[in-house]
Amino acid sequence: MVDTASASDVTRESGRVGQRRRPFRQRLGRAATPLLWIGPAIALIAVVVLWPVVVMFRTSVQHFSPNGFLLGPAGSKNFKNLFDEPDLPGILERTAVWVVVVVCVTMVLSLGLAQLLNQVFPGRRVTRWALIAPWAASVLMTTLIFRWALDPNSGVINLFLKDIGVLKSFGSNQADWLGRPQAAFVWMMVVAIFVSLPFTTYALLAGLQTIPTELYEAARVDGASTWRTYRSITLPLLRPAFLVAALINVINVFNSFPIIWAMTRGGPGHETATTTVFMFQLKEAYIGESAAMSVINFGLVIVVVLVFLWATRWREQVT
């Protein structure tokens, strides 16, 4: 890559000087100049993003010892082992619930929050600033705060639930939210929604601010009701921002690892794991099978991205 770039540099310079004399070199130079500028970016993407995909696919058909020694080809054995995992159907189902619930609740709440922040009133700035915290802070650390707040003996969430009469006693089974897989999973979704809200709200707010106020005034003059205005003007014009925010959320939430890892490590067993966490659990001892899980995760992400590109006709927009 580097060689091509520096060579093209020379060609480009000489091409520019001798414009009439060397049409071929000039053409070559013109074709190679872009590489000089975007070559490093392509190289970085190739090494860090594209090549790992190749390695991942290769690993998924190789046989490894638990401590990482390559023992030979495995054919489709890793995939067969993966599909034979008794916990896999539950994990897939949990992943679907995780993505659908977290993204849907986030989108609905963010619509409301964005609408609120789009109004003019004292204190708007304070809310905007407060929303920055969960966005900028590490998700791992935010999750650990919730884990501490859910402590069965002295966590502040339990303290609050006791004060309002929901919790009967400390240290009880009821207070041990993270000890019960179902309850733990609900709390993880709460944290996932909490950390997804800021970006989503800001993205929708940016979308709202592109809607011309004249449209609202026209609707008002026509005597349209608030709900009617919202449904016929705001929602349709918000569609591009909404779709992009939803897509980014689907990808982020699907790939989310720190929330579940910090709360329960995906346990007990795999009872609170999504496919991303399961991949990480498998990686400890079954590298080939973990790669097979990765391949499936990767395939799912690609399908989502392709559907999105198709739905938004990305190619036409760029050109």
């Binding site: 970006f199 705001t234 190619r315």
Partner: protein, 293 residues
């Protein structure tokens, strides 16, 4: 709380009183303000609890009260004995290195795609967009095996490369937008005055694109600073643990060192939240630019 917020768009959309153009009635303003403050408090409470627990004496850690009876800084002073300084240094190296690499690579790419319509431009931008949609978690095994083979002298280098690669897209989009907004005529005028192409770039375009550069810089730094799953996978020796991995390690099998965990979290989080506040208004553009366009 949930109900209140979801109801908001219905009652909160502009202009319920038909004749009053643009003016929000005072009563409703008060409701909005109250609601907004309530939401602000809800979003800040977890971080308040983080600070409170960090300042709580160990003897009162298990007390059932919202605020401790005594306050102490001991967690912040004793944390350095456990190697926290090394973790801080590693995080600074990884985040700083990744940021430098991203700028070095993204600046020329963004400038060129903003200025020239060359063959392959669409393909390149599509490649960047796809990169943005992919996350290290989706190909972690590949990353681990690849860097195992590279056998770089330290995990810090691997982490710099991975963080730079996965944050490149954001920088390209935001810089592309800023470069596009600088009129070509300005550069040409400077070149007519004898500045040369690089001179025009350095004296005209780069300063005008500075807000975009700062945004890319801070965003990449924070993303690399907070990155967890790759660091957890590639950093295998305690000398290479960045902050996230170190803080995760305060969670033991049977007990958690909450005091130090949150003291470390405060040190790792607060500066980053303040930095983020500077670029808050521009981040959405960089995250969605590639897909909305």
């Amino acid at each position: 709380m949930t109900d209140v917020v979801t109801e908001q768009p219905l009652t909160g959309a502009p202009g319920r009183r038909v004749r009053r153009v643009r003016r929000v009635p005072r009563g409703r303003k008060l409701i909005f303000a109250g609601l907004a403050y309530l939401i602000a408090i809800i979003f800040l409470l977890p971080y308040a609890e983080m600070v409170i627990t960090a300042l709580r004496p160990n003897a009162e850690l298990l007390d059932r009260d919202y605020v401790p009876r005594h306050w102490t800084f001991s967690n912040f002073t004793s944390i350095w004995a456990s190697g926290f300084g090394t973790n801080l240094k590693i995080s600074l190296e990884v985040a700083g290195g990744a940021t430098a690499l991203v700028l070095l690579v993204a600046l020329p790419a963004a400038y060129y795609t903003a200025r020239r319509h060359f063959p392959g431009r669409g393909v390149f931008l599509l490649l960047v967009l796809v990169t943005q949609m992919l996350q290290p978690a989706a190909m972690l095994v590949g990353i681990q095996r690849e860097f195992l083979n590279f056998d770089l002298p330290s995990a810090v280098l691997s982490l710099i490369l991975v963080n730079a690669g996965f944050n490149l897209a954001f920088a390209v989009w935001i810089l592309n937008a800023y470069f596009s907004s600088v009129p070509v005529e300005l550069e040409e005028a400077a070149m007519v005055d004898g500045a040369g192409r690089l001179g025009a770039l350095g004296r005209i375009t780069l300063p005008l694109a500075m807000p975009g550069i700062v945004t890319a810089l801070i965003f990449t730094f924070i993303a690399a600073w907070n990155e967890f799953i790759v660091a957890l996978t590639l950093a295998t020796s305690p000398d290479d643990f960045p902050l996230t991995v170190a803080i995760n390690n305060y969670v033991g099998q049977y007990s958690v060192d909450w005091g130090h965990l949150f003291a470390g979290s405060v040190i790792a989080t607060i500066p980053v939240i303040i930095l983020f506040a500077f670029i808050e208004g521009k981040v959405v553009g960089g995250l969605t630019a590639g897909s909305i366009k």
